[in-house]
């Protein structure tokens, strides 16, 4: 086949790859000004978004569509073992990944322009995103895992890219060790599955279903695989690294880790645990069964997932409850949010997948935004503790309002996307009835508890008197004690724009969810029906 027909599905990936190479090349050429490298990153991600959205059938950009609609969600010929397959849900996830990357890149352009290693950062950002995009179209286990590793390795380096920040390096170390461990686990699991099926192709694995020589291998294989992927999604008890890493990493990197790479894990779960093994009735009611039959693993896997989901959200909340540091609080909260997403995977029906995907989108926006705000506030010279944010809401009304909006969205307050995503997700859970109802109850109660620590931040920002002297103002004072003043009251154009955009999207999708919910649900139905 011609190169173009081969390359067509990879248009966004190619763009990103080009961007990465360009940045590294420039780095070699000592061209490291943030305006340039950051510009490239922003442009690449933006272009990627355009391409993906076009492929999703977004009319205004139709001319950019590179994949014939027929190829999307198409089942391969029986016996064929394609390495990749474009599914609409995959495209949705690609869009989400690119969105997160775009915002991070945009926000990061406001860092001191002569910062050391900035260009590396942008290059790695694009590289990691590239890996995520590949995950979203994988249909082969090894392909999937390798793609994940691309991202992982890139993000190890991102965490430590400054090379001078002890916290960053420590974080990278932890990240790396746990990451390596889970890599081992997932590959080991994959190897066992290969043993059981003689193939690593997800389609074939699904086709084979229960007709397999060594069911025990299958059980062990999926078990190890689960452990390996759980690391990415930060499920309890595979979560411990996340908090330290988000905490220690540079703020913008945390934003990307929380908002981006974690979501990749979610989609990997979709592929490995839903796509291949899903049997679905007409209305998309869950008929989830991992090898219903010999070992009756399906329901029991569901149960395990459910237990872990509840565990994850509860532990995450409990740990966030009294957390004093802003970033760690956000980290814990994103762990608990992962628990919500797992609800969708547990149920496995199309509505639930849709809900989970929406939750992924919501979380990508909210967490990226929140961490960007944190990095902006830190740039203003405000400390890392929640109590350092005292009076911020009244001193910097707009910034405060944006942050408040994100927190309220995380807490699931109406007219924000956070509310809609939870609503849809839990609706799906209740609709599935049976013991899934209790998943919904657990999730809702957790979200109720979570309100406490978000409200605590609001309380600090709005009700508590601001400290004197107020660092939040120092940053804005030209020639003040703080760092050199940036435009937009010390935020810088990039950050300001990113934060404003995210806030806008949160409200937009909160008021008219159909915008995103429609495509996502359709994609979910296709995904379930086509089985990746």
């Amino acid at each position: 086949m011609t190169f173009s027909s081969f390359a067509a599905p990879f248009a966004p990936e190619i763009v990103l790859l080009a961007g990465t190479l360009l940045i590294f090349a420039l780095d070699v050429l000592k061209v490291r000004r943030i305006e340039i490298t950051g510009g490239i990153a922003v442009a690449a991600t933006l272009a990627g978004i355009a391409l993906v959205v076009a492929d999703l059938g977004f009319a205004p950009l139709a001319f950019l569509a590179t994949i014939p609609a027929a190829q999307i969600d198409a089942l391969p010929a029986a016996g064929a073992a394609p390495l990749y397959a474009v599914t609409s849900l995959g495209l949705v996830f690609q869009a989400i990944f690119l969105l997160a990357a775009f915002f991070v890149a945009l926000g990061s352009t406001s860092r001191p322009s002569d910062e050391r290693g900035a260009s590396i950062f942008f290059g790695l950002l694009l590289l990691a995103t590239l890996g995520m995009l590949l995950v979203a179209i994988a249909s082969d286990l090894i392909f999937l895992l390798l793609a994940i590793e691309v991202t992982s390795i890139a993000s190890y380096l991102m965490v430590a890219y400054t090379r001078t920040d002890a916290r960053g390096v420590e974080a990278a170390m932890k990240f790396f060790i746990i990451g390596a461990l889970s890599t081992v686990l997932s590959f080991f699991g994959a190897s066992l599955l290969f043993g059981a099926y003689g193939t690593t192709n997800l389609y074939l694995i699904r086709a084979a279903g229960t007709a397999v020589g060594y069911p025990t291998l299958v059980l062990l294989g999926y078990g190890f695989l689960f452990a390996g992927l759980a690391f990415k999604v930060t499920l309890v008890p595979f979560h411990a690294w996340a908090v330290d890493v988000y905490d220690g990493a540079p703020h913008d990197v945390s934003a990307f880790l929380a908002g981006g790479t974690k979501k990749m894990g979610i989609f990997a779960f979709f592929l490995v645990f839903l796509g291949p093994v899903l049997a679905v009735d007409a209305v998309g009611q869950s008929g989830y069964g991992l090898f219903g039959g010999s070992l009756a693993l399906g329901p029991s896997f569901q149960l395990a997932l459910g237990v872990i989901a509840v565990l994850t959200m509860s532990v995450g909340n409990a740990l966030a409850l009294l957390q004093k540091e802003m970033k760690r609080m956000l980290a814990y909260s994103s762990i608990s949010q992962a628990g919500y997403m797992m609800i969708g995977i547990t149920i496995g029906s199309a509505p639930a997948l849709g809900g989970a995907t929406l939750q992924v989108l919501a979380h990508a926006l909210m967490k990226t935004g929140a961490f960007l705000v944190v990095s902006a506030v830190a740039a203003l010279g405000v400390g890392p503790l929640i109590e350092d944010y005292r009076g911020l809401g009244t001193r910097r009304p707009l910034l405060g309002a944006a942050f408040a909006l994100m927190l309220l969205s995380l807490a699931g307050v109406p007219l924000t996307i956070g509310f809609v995503s939870k609503f849809v997700l839990f609706s799906a859970a209740v609709r599935a009835q049976g013991w899934f109802l209790w998943l919904a109850v657990a999730g809702l109660l957790n979200s109720a508890i979570s309100v406490f620590y978000y409200a605590r931040v609001l309380k600090a920002m709005y009700f508590d008197p601001s400290p004197v002297p107020d660092p939040a103002l120092a940053g804005a004072v030209v020639g003040g004690a703080g760092p050199p003043a940036l435009p937009v009251g010390g935020l810088g154009y990039g950050r300001a724009a990113a934060i404003a955009l995210i806030a806008g999207l949160i409200v937009l999708f909160g008021i008219d969810p159909q915008l995103v919910l429609g495509p996502i649900q359709a994609a979910a139905y296709h995904f379930v029906a086509a089985g990746a």
Binding site: V413, L415, F423, L445, A455, K459, P513, L517, Q521
Partner: protein, 491 residues
């Protein structure tokens, strides 16, 4: 015909934004919005069946209904569906009244007026939304929306312990509404309805097995009960009231508590009849407990606001009792009572606010004989107290009379419990007046400027309404009974 209700909501939304933006002139924008809102409510009434001057062609039941698809998926349809029947219309009216009264009363608010008035607008928007929503998601959305502005009102403009009170209020009520949400979702999906709008849920719920209905009812009831609030889920109320700024207290007691009652009537009692039937004894028990508890506790309070807060618990207990009776008269009584309590408690909270402004304290024991110093104020307090203890020709009387009549009719001699509590209620109000208004003057002279005109204006409005509807309750009744409930003309 004009989409009046959307216009109302739009008015409030724009008003909110405008107020936030208006800076120091916020109060004018707020006043304008409230006035406009009131006018639109007037229009709503003018075109509503059963209203004296009505000469239209609307059929009774839900009027001014609008439906626009909002979220539509293969497995759930959510509409922007609004409309009013007599009951909701009454509550919309209440909202309009309290909003304008609050705005006028708080005319002198100097601390970040834009934020203050904006939040007041937002609260009212949320309440109106709850009252007119005919779709579960829309209902819940507004329901939750109300929490946020109130949280900020209490937390920023409140008293010394405001932070704790704000958090407590927010989380307590939020947990409750979460449970309620489970109930609502289960209501939809267990009844097999795919659409969230009232009509289809109402129809589908008929098919539910009694036991399921019971559980759903309990879940919903918990959500509403905390808002009511009923004993033992009431402890957020005194704290919230004591700490909230006067305007906040007024809206809190006048509107937020009503959300619970309204929700119970609209989404539980109406939709889950056999559920109600099976938990009726429990409801009666809780109601009696609340009535008794609230009244007796008021007797023990030293802080004027706390006293009024507990008296609210007592009154809402009567409301719950009336609703639980599941008779048309009971329903009528419940709505009347809620309206009455909205106006009266608003008045009383304004009064206690003024007392605080004038004397720097609300501690009844350390006040005394304030009548010579502030005759107008003490008149307001007396009016509020007497209305609240059910004096005829004031709004409380027709409500309580019908309520107790219905109780007698439904429960026979059990009515003695609420009736005898009436004496206690009278006792604590009279005692409060005796200690605070009469006797030798204590607690220093009133504030030099005396009662500001806007405060007396705000209270005066409410007093006037108390008398008007007390003398002519049929003005309300004729509207209320035009609802598609209990085989009333609306059906």
């Amino acid at each position: 015909m004009l989409p009046l209700i959307s216009i109302v909501l739009a008015t409030l939304a724009l008003g909110t934004v405008g107020t936030f933006a208006a800076g120091t002139r916020a109060r004018w924008v707020a006043l304008g919005t409230s006035a406009l809102f009131l006018a639109e409510v007037g229009l709503l009434f003018a075109g509503f069946t059963g209203w004296p001057g009505y000469s239209g062609t609307l059929v009774p039941g839900f009027s001014y209904t609008e439906t626009h698809p909002w979220i539509s998926l293969a497995w759930m349809h959510i509409d922007y569906a609004v409309g009013v029947d007599g009951i909701s219309l009454i509550f919309v009216l209440l909202t309009a009244i309290l909003q304008i009264a609050t705005v006028v009363y708080s005319w002198g608010e100097t601390q970040r007026p834009a934020g203050y008035f904006g939040l007041v607008m937002l609260t009212c928007l949320g309440c109106v939304g709850v009252f007119v929503a005919l779709d579960i998601l829309l209902f819940f959305l507004f329901w939750e929306l109300v929490l946020v502005p109130m949280f900020f009102l209490i937390g920023y403009w409140g008293g010394p312990n405001r932070r704790y009170a704000a958090l407590k209020f927010f989380i307590y009520t939020h947990v409750a509404s979460i449970v309620m949400l489970v109930g609502l979702l289960a209501l939809v999906f267990y009844s097999g309805a795919t659409s969230f709008d009232f009509a289809s849920v109402y129809a589908a719920a008929r098919g539910l097995a009694p036991v399921v209905q019971t559980f759903l009812f309990l879940a919903l009831f918990f959500g509403f009960a905390v808002k009511f609030p009923i004993v033992p889920f009431h402890t957020w109320l005194p704290d919230a009231h004591v700490e909230a700024p006067t305007g906040g207290s007024v809206l809190l007691a006048g509107l937020l508590l009503k959300l619970g009652g309204y929700g119970l009537i609209r989404w539980a009692v109406e939709v889950l009849p056999s559920g109600l039937h099976s938990v009726q004894p429990l409801l009666f028990l809780i109601a009696f407990l609340s009535i008794f508890w609230g009244s007796v506790l008021s007797l023990a309070q030293r802080d004027l606001k706390r006293l009024v807060a507990y008296s609210s618990i007592n009154h809402m207990g009567i409301v719950l009792l009336a609703i639980a009776l599941d008779s048309s008269l009971g329903l009528l009584a419940a709505v009347l009572l809620m309206f009455a309590h909205g106006v009266v408690s608003g008045l009383l909270f304004m009064a206690s606010g003024s007392v605080h402004h004038q004397y720097g304290t609300r501690d009844i024991a350390s006040l005394g004989g304030i009548t010579p110093g502030a005759p107008a104020l003490s008149t307001m307090i007396m009016a509020g107290g007497l209305a609240s203890l059910g004096l005829p020709a004031l709004i409380g009387f027709p409500a309580e009379f019908t309520a107790f009549l219905a109780t007698w009719n439904g429960l026979g001699y059990w009515v003695l419990i609420p009736l005898s509590v009436l004496v206690v209620t009278a006792a604590f109000y009279l005692w409060m007046m005796q200690r605070m208004l009469f006797g030798e003057t204590k607690g220093g002279p009133p504030d030099a400027h005396g009662l500001p005109w806007y405060e007396s204006a705000g209270m005066g409005l409410l007093v006037a309404l108390t008398v008007l509807f007390g003398v002519l309750p049929s003005l309300l009744v004729n509207v209320i009974v035009n609802s598609p409930i209990k085989g009333w003309p609306g059906t």
